[in-house]
């Protein structure tokens, strides 16, 4: 503790108070811009109908109510695909897609980070190169691959490609490079094989990276509307249901706000819980020269 003022002293010398004030003011203004739509979305979910259509519109709710959530349950109980079905589909896609991605990406990242096998470098550069273009480029051949595999209109068409998301492998590999080689050598001397080392030594040591991959993968799958692959109503996702509800017009505004809140609050909560691990992983995210 004694060291801290001493460490800070030279740092403070370089700081002009006016500039600090201006920078924090800038942060506050833009922070408000970032937060306002979310605050508005949260408040909307608790607004009674008359407040939703008040003129001029207000951000904050004055008489909060759970009516919108009750309406949502009532509405979805009476429709021919119950809401629980959409939630179940979304949960299935998200959980299997996220867990599978963490498992596959870390299994591939471990040899890439710790062994020099022929072709390893080339494979990793292809993964890095694939960060440089978006999935739109491959959308059309992907559709053909899916129809060739017979996966159109199945959840596999959403889940399986997500398992091999390149960003996850990249971050996992960078993070695994930090694991001391001595740890792996020691396990080898004790007679553990590669799979055992991966599962009992490497995996427990990269928990922060699991959470990071989760934070990147989860919102993407949680927010999927099934795209062009899924057309059966009983396979559709919660985000798709939200779109249907909001298209129901003015009368559905409250219910729409309730679904939107459910959709946004889950990834945000996960991030709050995992923030420090995510930052720890991101520290190793850099691209080497």
């Amino acid at each position: 503790m004694k060291m801290i003022p001493a460490l800070r002293a030279p740092k403070r010398l370089n700081r002009s108070l006016t500039v600090s004030f201006l920078l924090f003011a800038l942060l506050a203004v833009f922070g408000a811009f970032m937060a306002l739509p979310l605050v508005y979305a949260i408040n909307n979910a608790f607004k009674p109908l008359d407040e939703l259509f008040i003129f001029p519109p207000r951000v904050l709710v004055s008489n909060p109510t759970f009516d919108n959530f009750y309406d949502l349950v009532a509405l979805m109980g009476s429709s021919w695909v119950p809401l629980s079905r959409y939630i179940g589909n979304t949960l299935l896609i998200t959980l299997v897609g996220t867990a599978g991605h963490i498992l596959l990406a870390s299994a591939a990242a471990y040899p890439l980070a710790k062994y020099k096998m022929p072709g390893g470098k080339t494979l990793f550069s292809i993964v890095v190169l694939s960060l440089m273009f978006s999935g739109h480029v491959t959308a059309i051949p992907n559709y053909m691959v899916m129809s060739w595999l017979g996966w159109i209109n199945t959840h596999a068409s959403i889940i399986v490609p997500a398992l091999a998301f390149p960003l996850g492998l990249f971050l996992m590999k960078q993070f695994m490079e930090q694991i001391p080689d001595a740890l792996i050598e020691a396990a080898k001397i004790d007679g553990a094989n590669e799979y055992r080392i991966y599962w009992t030594i490497v995996m427990p040591n990269v928990k922060p990276a699991w959470l990071t991959l989760m934070i990147l993968q989860f919102p993407m799958l949680w927010g999927t509307d099934g795209g062009s692959f899924i057309y059966s109503e009983n396979l559709k996702t919660l985000h798709y249901a939200l779109g249907q509800i909001t298209q129901g017009g003015i009368a559905r505004a409250g219910v729409g706000a309730a679904v939107a809140l459910i959709l946004m609050i889950v990834p945000i909560t996960l991030f709050i819980l995992s923030q420090s691990s995510v930052i720890q992983t991101m520290a190793t995210s850099g691209m080497k020269e």
Binding site: M117, L167, H239, S285
Partner: protein, 320 residues
Amino acid sequence: MQAETTPSGAVPGLARKAEKKSRLGPALKEIGKHKHAYILMGPYMILFFLFTVIPVVFSLLLSFFYFNMLEFPRFVGWQNYSRLLLNDDVFMIALKNTFLFAVITGPVSYVACFLFAWIINELSPKVRAVMTLVFYAPSISGNVFFIWLIVFSGDSYGYLNGFLIKYGFILEPIQWLTNENYILPIVILVQLWLSLGTSFLAFIAGLQTIDKSLIEAGAVDGIRNRWQELWFITLPSMRPQLLFGAVLQITSSFAVADISIALAGFPSVNYAAHTVVTHLMDYGTIRFEMGYASAIATVLFGIMIGTNMLTQKLLRKVGE
């Protein structure tokens, strides 16, 4: 005797075999030694090649064919490209819009990611965690950008219209999302709102790991203010994260489509928010001209990779 001659007779043949093996041998041995590594990588790499690498190659090949999903593909040479670049006015609008998006949202979001990460880094850990959440939350709250639909709604219940009418700036509501003049700026604004994502976190993390002794040493060496510290110490120490962030921001800035479709519709009024990606969707999922759509995808691929490579080259010079 017999026993001795047979092996000696076989020697030349064995020697030749051994010589042949010595070229392939070490490589195979090396692969054999790492058998477990390949097995571990297998599942991921098979899926990665199946859904990313092969489709890129396939798309490139398909761009030289006419293919409508029903008839057998017919080779047409450069025809798709010549039609795309010389005869497709809508593609030119899409290309112009895409570059406009990318030129604005790419650098602005990149600088914003860094600037806000840099200011947040000066705060105490607890405030830092809250501010990180505030700036990062929009990018993971996924589809909540539909809130902006309410903000920019064309009637007087729209948040912006309501506000402007109340304070007397306008008398009648403005049709924000169907007026060509407003569509593009609005899509850019919402895109920026969503763009403080993974790179922002990478910058926050990078700033926290900068060696404090470097900053002290800099102060001794005559660094006078935070701008000099930023340029001579902070930025060079963060070069790996800067490169990583650039890749992500550039790629997403060229891929604008979902937000454009959600806000401005598909197709948008007079193609005001039409981008290369929406053009690709138009031909790929509506008109089923797969060869032509593949040519669009290949052009997009070229633009993304080219811009990324160029930026990587430039960024390596930061702080030198």
